[in-house]
């Protein structure tokens, strides 16, 4: 039975169809899962560069005298440490420490921040932010007006540099430049961030300018092997780099600490934040479970929600993401298991279609750029 739903379109919807993107329902958005093929696109990003439409991401503008203290009370990382033109990864938490979402906070000016959230969580996050409004702050959901493309890979800087006079080498990781012009397309926020494990940039701009930017970038990157990429490759890339996907490695039931994002959970920061007590307690008592990397040494591919067993047959956890790794050419998985099963070399079993298949804990991230 099929349910008729109206899928949301990004500004690049027509472009994806025109250039052969295989457009599918991606959490309510019509987006390409692939262009030429997931493995080919994945390899393009690892070796050269890839271009992604991520206009579905949500953007919330936070302004006002109390903007900093307001955000600092909502998120796990320490916003007081962020400088203008710097971005910071953070987790929005429930009082019990579980995650509402993970996000990036961009400090645009002293009292002005852009908060970038996961597409499927935009409405939930915005409602949460409204519910906890405090002090002299106004927030607005500008997701529909903002488009975003990501250019990722070792050649991303060289390609983008051809089209702009802004010196990209001056933008360090997790910093950004505002009001950048890229080949006549104006007012772009160019951020050295990404979700692939490679160097690269995320470009935020007015939705009606995205199509022009996309075409110019693809043209400029042609000779360098830049390929348009779908969200399938985005997932395999972020998976190898062990970047959590909300709903899989991180969720209302899996805290940022358990997801391995402890660097962004500042339980010692001065300000209180929602979830602080629970996370501080969890940290003090020690984590009972963690996201771990597994290599499937038997035959098969582990998928999201497959069960993990100990070698003595006890059910111990679940696979959060699993696939064939295009870079390592192995069947790999991320799984949430008790801490006593997280030592490299620990043998476990994964149930794949009623068969117990051998797997072993391996070092993760599976891939780190050299």
């Amino acid at each position: 039975m099929t349910t008729e739903t109206t899928l949301k379109h990004t500004p690049l919807y027509d472009t994806h169809l025109k250039y052969g993107g295989k457009v599918i329902d991606f959490g309510g958005w019509a987006l390409p899962v692939q262009y030429s093929g997931i493995i080919e696109e994945h390899e393009a990003v690892r070796n050269n560069a890839g271009l992604f439409d991520v206009s579905h991401m949500g953007e919330v503008m936070v302004e006002g005298k109390d903007a900093e203290s307001y955000i600092n009370y909502l998120v796990s990382n320490d916003v007081t440490k962020v400088k203008i033109n710097q971005a910071q990864y953070s987790v929005l938490c429930y009082p019990d420490g579980g995650a509402v979402d993970d996000l990036l906070v961009y400090k645009l000016a002293e009292e002005k921040y852009l908060v970038v959230v996961n597409a499927s969580n935009t409405d939930k996050d915005f409602a949460w932010m409204q519910e906890h409004l405090k002090g002299d702050v106004t927030i607005s959901n500008i997701s529909d007006e903002v488009g975003q493309v990501a250019i990722q890979g070792p050649k991303a800087e060289a390609i983008l540099q051809k089209l702009t006079e802004t010196d990209l080498s001056q933008i360090a990781g997790f910093y950004f430049a505002q009001n950048v012009t890229v080949d006549g397309v104006t007012d772009i926020l160019v951020s050295r961030t990404g979700y692939t494990g490679e160097d690269g940039f995320e470009l935020y701009l007015a939705a009606d300018k995205v199509e022009a930017l996309w075409d110019k970038l693809l043209e400029a990157g042609k000779e360098d092997g830049l390929k348009p990429c779908g969200l399938g490759a985005r997932d395999t890339l972020r998976f190898e780099a062990k970047l959590p996907l909300y709903g899989q490695e991180l969720s209302k039931d899996i805290t940022g600490l358990e997801a391995g994002m402890g660097f962004a959970i500042k339980v010692a920061k001065e300000s209180d934040f929602i979830g602080k007590d629970a996370l501080a307690k969890l940290k003090e008592e020690g984590l009972k479970r963690k996201i771990v990397g597994l290599e499937i040494t038997g035959r098969g591919i582990a998928r999201h929600d497959y069960k993990v067993f100990s070698t003595s047959g006890e059910e111990i956890g679940t696979v959060t993401t699993g696939t064939h790794s295009p870079t390592l050419k192995k069947s790999l998985a991320l799984a949430l298991v008790p801490t006593e099963y997280t030592q490299v070399g620990t043998e476990v079993k994964i149930e794949i279609r009623n068969k117990q298949v051998d797997a072993v804990v391996v070092k993760s991230p599976f891939y780190k750029r050299g």
Binding site: K22, V33, Q34, G37, I38, I39, E40, G232, D235, T236, R299, G300, I301, R303, T323, H324, P326, S331, R353
Partner: protein, 127 residues
Amino acid sequence: MTNLLYSKDHEWVQQLEGNRVRIGISDYAQHSLGDIVFVENPEVDSEVKANEAVGSIESVKAVSDLITPVSGAVVSVNEELEDAPQSINEQPFDGGWIFEVELSDSEELKGLLSEEEYKAFISEGEE
């Protein structure tokens, strides 16, 4: 390829000598699945029943059942797919064949589609 029959589950069936047939998936199927990275073959000597799942085919993104369009005994599987599952993408009708069955009921072939019928079936589905 000539003389191929097709199922509505997108397998092709090629008649070999006697009651033996070779089975693979169609070009349309390999294209919809995308990069194939793993094939779980049925076991040689196992008895299979038409329209049942006998194994699986996995792309980077998803798992699909491998359906046998005919009944009988599995007499051979393409072991090369273990190391080179991408053969199904590259040559779905040749090196990408999956398994062979000794038919228990050759009448079942009459229920399959000709190439023209299969093409019509696909284009219906895409409208």
